[in-house]
């Protein structure tokens, strides 16, 4: 019974922790402009993150190494350093975007301008990372993020034409006045939102923090193969409500408030309160993950002591990098860049670094020295290789598509 409880709790945490500001922005924008015709990209992205998270989790459980340890060991110090700089910068931008989401949720709840909330959110974020235990951080915000299920609850109340949603989903082509370039741009954003690299940095480092061993493999797999797809279902729900409300009106989503609007229209005031809580929890939880990931990547490259298991003074360099990342995230927002636009940028740059993150995982997952009998089977390798090709295509296409479409136009 205790085991069942642990598995259930893990799965619920994985569902709630799946959504971040990137999923939120990409799914509602894509839904508003293309209906459900990009839903297949989300499905593909969720399958990809499942395949690669399972590999990363397995490597961690067997070898006790996290993803950036592998990157340096497999790519050598030179390429890994380039990789580190890229991953670190992208993590900083992502942290800024998540903090922006937190501040916008607080603005929706309070009416106080979001920029005033940014330093408050940054400070509370740092306190949480400084004081709270790893398990507490993961559980509280993962479970609170589950409130985003309200999008699925709101969907029937918007009285969508189910047949037309289904028809859009089954016809993966740009609709109406849209062209293939913008379709491609939003496809790249959606794919990056599902496979954001910090997710595996955090997932594997979390495995080390929680001292996973071979015995934890079934629980890890349950979290990945049940939790992540259900989290992806929340993303689909966000897309579907935007498709139901905005697409018939030809309206675009340019703010977090608009993205929350379908729930308010469908469920009224209670729905609005729940959805604001959900956005807050999801973005704050993701900001925590990005703050830690900034420290994880640098510390793992150089071999420094890292993690929340030891007192901060025993891992001073790690905690300094985390603190620095939060300060930079706050400063990025102080440039007054629109957080939604920052999120769009963040998704493009995440798309660019996808292969750099995932290739070393695939290589090590086939190495018997690390994994013994737990190396990939042929089916996993087939899937992972197909995804690697997709990751390379997405990575190459991301910046040209951003420029050609003027960030989706």
């Amino acid at each position: 019974m205790k085991k069942v409880f642990a598995v259930t709790l893990g799965i619920l945490t994985a569902i709630g922790g799946f959504i971040d500001v990137g999923d939120f922005v990409a799914s509602s924008q894509a839904g508003a402009r293309f209906g459900m015709s990009l839903a297949w990209v989300l499905v593909l992205g969720v399958l990809g993150i499942c395949v690669y998270s399972e590999m990363a989790g397995r490597v961690t459980a067997i070898s006790n190494l996290a993803v950036f340890d592998l990157i340096r060991e497999r790519l050598g110090p030179r390429v890994a350093l380039v990789n580190l700089v890229a991953a670190f910068l992208v993590t900083l931008i992502t942290l800024g975007a998540e903090l922006g989401g937190v501040a916008l949720a607080l603005e929706l709840a309070s009416g106080v301008y979001y920029l005033l909330w940014v330093p408050v959110a940054g400070f509370v974020l740092w306190i949480a990372l400084w004081r709270l235990k790893f398990e507490t951080l993961e559980r509280v915000f993962g479970l609170a993020g589950l409130t985003l299920v309200v999008f699925l609850v709101a969907l029937p109340h918007l009285h969508p034409q189910w047949s037309s949603l289904w028809q859009q989903a089954s016809q993966p082509v740009p609709s109406g006045s849209e062209n293939w370039n913008t379709y491609g741009y939003f496809a790249v954003s959606l794919f990056a939102s599902a496979m954001t690299p910090y997710e595996v940095f955090f997932f594997s480092s979390g495995g080390v923090e929680e001292k996973w061993g071979p015995d934890e493999l079934p629980v890890m797999r349950a979290n990945v193969f049940v939790g992540f797809p259900l989290g992806g279902l929340l993303s689909l729900g966000i897309m579907a409500t935007a498709a139901a409300l905005f697409q018939p009106l030809d309206a675009q989503v340019n703010s977090v408030g608009q993205a929350a609007l379908p729930v308010a229209v469908g469920l009224g005031r209670v729905g609005l309160i729940v959805v604001i809580l959900g956005i807050f929890a999801a973005t704050f939880g993701a900001a925590l993950e990005n703050g830690l990931s900034a420290g994880y990547t640098v510390a793992q490259y150089f071999g420094w002591q890292w993690g929340k298991r030891v007192a901060p003074r025993a891992a001073a360099r790690f905690h300094f990098v985390v603190l620095l990342a939060i300060v930079i995230g706050v400063l990025v927002l102080f440039t007054t860049i629109d957080p939604v636009q920052l999120t769009e940028f963040m998704l493009v740059f995440n798309a660019v670094i996808l292969p750099l993150t995932y290739l070393p995982i695939l290589v090590v997952a086939n190495d018997r020295e690390y994994l013994g009998d737990h190396v990939n089977g042929w089916f996993t390798n087939l899937l992972a290789t197909i995804f690697l090709v997709i990751l390379v295509i997405v990575s190459i296409a991301a910046i040209p598509l951003m420029i050609v479409t003027g960030m989706g136009g």
Binding site: S63, L65, R78, G303, Q305, A316
Partner: protein
């Protein structure tokens, strides 16, 4: 004979599993075939091994940051290595090795001064 390929860039942990650093370079003997005499840890050996402008930059920065006692460069004699695998485990405790200057400085001047820094 190619044993150092299985050492380079791997995580070094001490007797109790505390993280010490990466194997940034190895020192080889003059014998034929050469054997590994010591593990070298720290940004300076890392930069020197990487070479090129990027490596030069790292080695230089490391030297400049710690001008007083010389840059952090732990040389761990190979006799101290207990086992090699996906991580390199030492026979000794981390406290017996020279402490990286950056870690010490940040602990004394930044992290250690914040309330709660001693609580795990």
């Amino acid at each position: 004979m190619f044993v150092w390929f299985h050492l380079l860039d791997r995580q070094v942990v001490d007797r109790d599993g505390q993280l010490v650093g990466k194997v940034d370079d190895v020192e080889l003997s003059d014998e034929d075939p050469p054997r590994v005499v010591a593990l070298l840890l720290g940004p300076r050996p890392l930069g020197e091994r990487m070479g090129g402008w990027l490596g030069g930059l790292i080695a230089n920065a490391a030297t400049r940051l710690h001008s007083e006692s010389g840059p952090y460069r732990a040389r761990i004699p190979y006799e101290h290595v207990a086992s090699t695998g996906t991580e390199i485990r030492l026979r000794v405790r981390r406290e017996l090795l020279p402490e990286p200057a950056l870690e010490e400085w940040l602990r004394e001047h930044v992290i250690g001064r914040i309330p709660g820094s001693s609580d795990a």
